[in-house]
C-alpha cells in the first residue's frame, strides 16, 4: 500500500517542525519516507492506536505489530488558519487542517491540500505524503480521488 508522494518546497530547512525520531517512532517515520502509513496494532486486544506509544492504552500490553493503512478516510473535524503562526505555512494562508478519521479507526491531524473548500464532517479524504527537505514525509489529505 504505497501512497502518492508530493514534494514540499520551503524557503528554508524546516527540520525544527518535525518530531525527533526515537526508538519508539522510528518505524513510523521510516515507513512514511518510503510511502507507507503505518500504525501500531496491539497483538493482545487487536486494537489500533496512534500516535506511536509503547503501551496499548486499552489493555496495557506492550506487544505490538505494525500495520499499513490504506489512507482512505473522512473528515472528522476541521479548522481554518487565518493567521500565520509559522512562516513555513505563510504562503498557504488561509489553509485548512483536518482531523481525518482513517479506516480502521485511526485519527490523524494533517493539512488539507484543497484550500478553497468548506469541509463537511464525513466528507471522504485520501492520504497523500508530502516529502520535506531532508527526505522525511508527513501525511496530508486531499478530497480529490477520495472514495
Amino acid at each position: 500500500m504505497t501512497l502518492p508522494i508530493i514534494e514540499r518546497v520551503f524557503p528554508g530547512e524546516p527540520d525544527d517542525l518535525l518530531p525527533a525520531v526515537t526508538s519508539d517512532n522510528e518505524p513510523y517515520w521510516t515507513a512514511l519516507a518510503r510511502g507507507e502509513l503505518l500504525t501500531q496494532s496491539c497483538t493482545q486486544c487487536a486494537r489500533l492506536r496512534f500516535p506511536v506509544m509503547p503501551v496499548c492504552p486499552y489493555c496495557g500490553s506492550t506487544n505490538t505489530e505494525w500495520r499499513a493503512l490504506s489512507g482512505e478516510g473522512e473528515v472528522f473535524s476541521w479548522v481554518r488558519y487565518h493567521r500565520c503562526f509559522l512562516q513555513e505555512f505563510a504562503d498557504l494562508i488561509p489553509y485548512v487542517v483536518i482531523t481525518a478519521q482513517l479506516d480502521r479507526g485511526v485519527r490523524i491531524i494533517g493539512r488539507l491540500l484543497e484550500r478553497d473548500v468548506i469541509p463537511v464532517t464525513g466528507m471522504p479524504v485520501t492520504t497523500i505524503l508530502e516529502r520535506w527537505p531532508g527526505g522525511r514525509c508527513v501525511p496530508v489529505f486531499s478530497l480529490s480521488g477520495a472514495k
Partner: protein, 401 residues
C-alpha cells in the same frame, strides 16, 4: 472528609498586555507579596510555605523567588509552567497546611507573557519545543501539519461539539459580550472598552471557527494569595475566605485540556460524555450542590472552554451550556454570574489567578460595582474537572446543606 484551609490575604496588580515589559517578574512579585501580607496582617517572617505557578522565563522559579524576596520557607513547590494547575496549587497548599508542612503558604503567580519570546504557536515562543514532544503538544499542537497555537486545539474540538449538539456558533458571542461588560466594571482589567455584538460578529477569525474575541488576552501581572488554616485565618485582618471543597485535575487518554471528553481529539475515544452533575467530590466535601454556587469563575482561554467547564462543574447537562448561558443567567443579577471580573477574555489571561483573587474580593464584599449581591459561595473550575469551592466567612462546610 473535611478541609480546613482559608485564604487570609490576597493582592494583585492591574493586568495588561506588555504592562510590565520593562520590569522583572521578581520586581512585580515584591509588590504583590508585600500587599498580600498587609492585607492579611502578617509579617514576612510568618510565611513558611511557597508555591510558585509559572516559572522562568516568564516568571521567577521558586528558588530565586524565595531568595530574592527574602522568604525562608520549609515547604516549596512549583508545577509545570502551564495554566491548568491553578486549583492544583491551592489544593497542595491546603494539604501542606493540613499535615503541618507549613502554617502560611504563599501562592505566587507573577509573570510576564510579554517575555515569552513571541505568540503561542510561533517558533520563538519559549515553549515551542513542547509541541515536538512524543505524543504532541500540550494543546494538541502538530507543527508539521501547520497546526500550532492552543486555540487550534479548542477549535478542532469545538467544531465536533457544535456539530454533535447542533449548536449555533453565534451563541458563543454571549460569553465575550457578558465578560466585557464585567470588565468595564473592573479597574484592574486589561480590556475595558465596551464591546458590541456588531463588533463581535464583524471581528476576524484567527483559527476558524474562533474569532479574535473568543480568545483570551495574554497579559503581564501578578497575584499573591496567602492560605492558612481556618483557625489561624480567624485572627486575620480581613474575614477568611474558606476553602470548602475541591477536586483534582483529570488526565488520561480521554482527557484533552482544550476540549471535552468524548469529542475524539486525536485518539481520545468518541462517546457521549455525561456531565457529572452534583455527584462530585468537591460538592460532597462542601456539603453543597451546584445550585448553591453563587458565582462561577472558569478557565476561559478560549470561549468554548467555558461551556465545557460549566458542564463539567455540573451546572447543566452535556451540550446544553451554549443555551444555558443565554438570557441573562450569567449576568451580575443572574442565576449564576460567570467570570465576574471579565475572565481571561477581558480581564486578562494570567492562568486563572486574577479569577481566584476575584472570588476572594466577591466573598469579602470588596468587588465594587461588579459586586454580586449577597454572594456566599464561589467556584473555580476547568474543563479538566479540577475545581475549588470557596465560602465567605460564616459559611462552613455543609452549612447550606
Amino acid at each position: 472528609m473535611k478541609v480546613a484551609a482559608a485564604i487570609t490575604g490576597v493582592a494583585s496588580t492591574a493586568f495588561g498586555p506588555r504592562k510590565f515589559a520593562d520590569r522583572t517578574a521578581i520586581s512585580v512579585a515584591s509588590e504583590v507579596v508585600a500587599a498580600a501580607l498587609a492585607d492579611a496582617g502578617l509579617e514576612r517572617s510568618q510565611l513558611d510555605g511557597l508555591i510558585v505557578h509559572i516559572g522562568s522565563p516568564r516568571g521567577a522559579d521558586y528558588d530565586v523567588a524565595a531568595s530574592l524576596l527574602g522568604l525562608n520557607v520549609r515547604f516549596a513547590a512549583q508545577p509545570w509552567s502551564h495554566g491548568r494547575f491553578t486549583a492544583t496549587v491551592i489544593q497542595h497548599a491546603a494539604m501542606a497546611l493540613e499535615v503541618g508542612l507549613a502554617d502560611y503558604v504563599l501562592c505566587l503567580a507573577s509573570y510576564r507573557n510579554s517575555s515569552a519570546g513571541g505568540r503561542h504557536g510561533t517558533k520563538t515562543r519559549s515553549t515551542f519545543h513542547e509541541y515536538l514532544r512524543q505524543g504532541g503538544g500540550p494543546h494538541g499542537e502538530t507543527p508539521h501539519a501547520g497546526f500550532t497555537a492552543p486555540l487550534a486545539g479548542t477549535g478542532m474540538a469545538a467544531r465536533r461539539y457544535f456539530d454533535k449538539y447542533k449548536i449555533s456558533l453565534e451563541k458563543l458571542a454571549t460569553l465575550a459580550l457578558t465578560q466585557r461588560r464585567y470588565a468595564t466594571l473592573n479597574p484592574l482589567a486589561a480590556m475595558r472598552k465596551p464591546l458590541t455584538a456588531d463588533e463581535y460578529f464583524n471581528s476576524r477569525y484567527i483559527v476558524e471557527p474562533l474569532r479574535i474575541f473568543d480568545c483570551s488576552v495574554e497579559v503581564d501581572g501578578a497575584v499573591a494569595v496567602i492560605i492558612t488554616t481556618a483557625d489561624r485565618a480567624r485572627d486575620g485582618r480581613k474575614p477568611p475566605v474558606h476553602l470548602l471543597g475541591f477536586q483534582g485535575i483529570n488526565a488520561g487518554p480521554n482527557e484533552f485540556g482544550m476540549g471535552q471528553p468524548g469529542l475524539g481529539f486525536n485518539q481520545a475515544e468518541v462517546f457521549d460524555y455525561v456531565a457529572p452533575g452534583g455527584d462530585q467530590m468537591m460538592y460532597r466535601m462542601a456539603g453543597l450542590q451546584p445550585a448553591d454556587i453563587d458565582m462561577l469563575q472558569v478557565y476561559d482561554a478560549f470561549s468554548p472552554m467555558t461551556l465545557w467547564a460549566i458542564e463539567r462543574m455540573g451546572h447543566c447537562k452535556t451540550g446544553e451550556a451554549a443555551d444555558w448561558i443565554q438570557n441573562g443567567r450569567i449576568d451580575q443579577n443572574g442565576e449564576l454570574p460567570l467570570n465576574t471580573s471579565g475572565g481571561m477574555l477581558s480581564e486578562g489571561h494570567l492562568n486563572g489567578w486574577p479569577q481566584i483573587a476575584e472570588i476572594v474580593r466577591q466573598l469579602r464584599n470588596e468587588a465594587g460595582e461588579r459586586q454580586i449581591p449577597d454572594a456566599k459561595t464561589g467556584q473555580w473550575g476547568t474543563g479538566l474537572g479540577d475545581a475549588l469551592i470557596f465560602g465567605r466567612d460564616g459559611v462552613q462546610p455543609g452549612a447550606l446543606a
